[in-house]
């Protein structure tokens, strides 16, 4: 006979299973994702400016702006900007590549955040150097996990 205890155990395991399914990126996965774009190059702080709200009510759509201080001339320009979120299920968020006609190294988008975490932006310059900036955010409603349909 199904008792209340059995029912609670079953319900608990379903909740546990759904939380476990939204596995978080490990620091190793984050490191690997960063090294995949940057190789062995040193990543310095500076030049990049990552604008994100410090407190976010809804992690499903978080406005994000990344600006890189660069003249964008043919021999001194930003090739790409990569955005990473360390505690999302996948650390990669967005990679953008600027063509020769791009005027400013700036991109605006909306991202999802699964947890309170540090969001990192890495810019790849035409001279092969990498620059970064990071922003700490507190997320009250997480994307991915609490939004079960």
């Amino acid at each position: 006979m199904k008792s209340r205890r059995d029912f609670l155990l079953a319900a608990g395991s379903i909740v546990f299973a759904s939380v476990a399914a939204g596995a978080r990126a490990t620091p190793a996965a984050m490191h690997e994702a960063v090294r995949k774009v940057a190789g062995d190059a040193e990543i310095r702080r500076g030049l990049v400016k990552l604008q994100i709200a410090p407190l976010i009510d809804n992690g499903n759509a978080v406005p994000l702006t990344v600006t890189v201080d660069s003249p964008m001339t043919p021999d001194n320009r930003v090739r790409a900007i990569h955005v990473f979120a360390e505690k999302n299920p996948l650390p990669n968020v967005l990679s953008v590549y600027f063509g020769a006609r791009a005027a400013r190294a700036r991109v605006v988008t909306r991202i999802r955040l699964a947890d309170s975490q540090t969001v990192t932006a890495i810019a790849e310059l035409s001279d092969g150097s990498f620059w970064s900036d990071a922003g700490d955010v507190v997320v009250t409603l997480s994307a991915c996990l609490e939004d079960i349909v």
Binding site: A17, N60, R110, R112, D147, I148, V149
Partner: protein, 106 residues
């Protein structure tokens, strides 16, 4: 057919920096969510976006599941000559949307 919205000035002076905002209708299903019965919902996202100005690539983006539904991207380019700017989104399940806009440069 998914709707796409593009905002850019219709006319610009030569050498002027123009800002382009694009939005495409798409659920961006992450592939990490489950239904109440515990079945995984398959991933369905926009994988890439390309913007070309008279055929020359200006801006390209690779999107991951961490991009919010209805992906919005704002970037800029230099108005060099009159012509068409094309925007292409492509993604899972054969998703593909192409839109173009014309710009007059004076």
């Amino acid at each position: 057919m998914a709707r796409a919205v593009i905002r850019l000035p219709s006319t610009a002076r030569r050498g002027e920096i123009i800002e382009i905002t694009t939005l495409v209708q798409h659920p961006m299903e992450t592939g990490f969510r489950r239904t109440q019965l515990g079945e995984a919902i398959p991933r369905n996202i926009v994988r890439s976006f390309v913007c070309a100005y008279n055929g020359e690539e200006v801006f390209r983006a690779t999107l991951h599941p961490a991009i919010a539904a209805n992906p919005l991207l704002t970037f800029s380019t230099v108005a060099t000559e009159s012509g068409t700017i094309t925007f292409t989104w492509s993604g899972d399940n054969g998703f593909s949307v192409t839109q173009s806009a014309t710009i007059t440069v004076t």
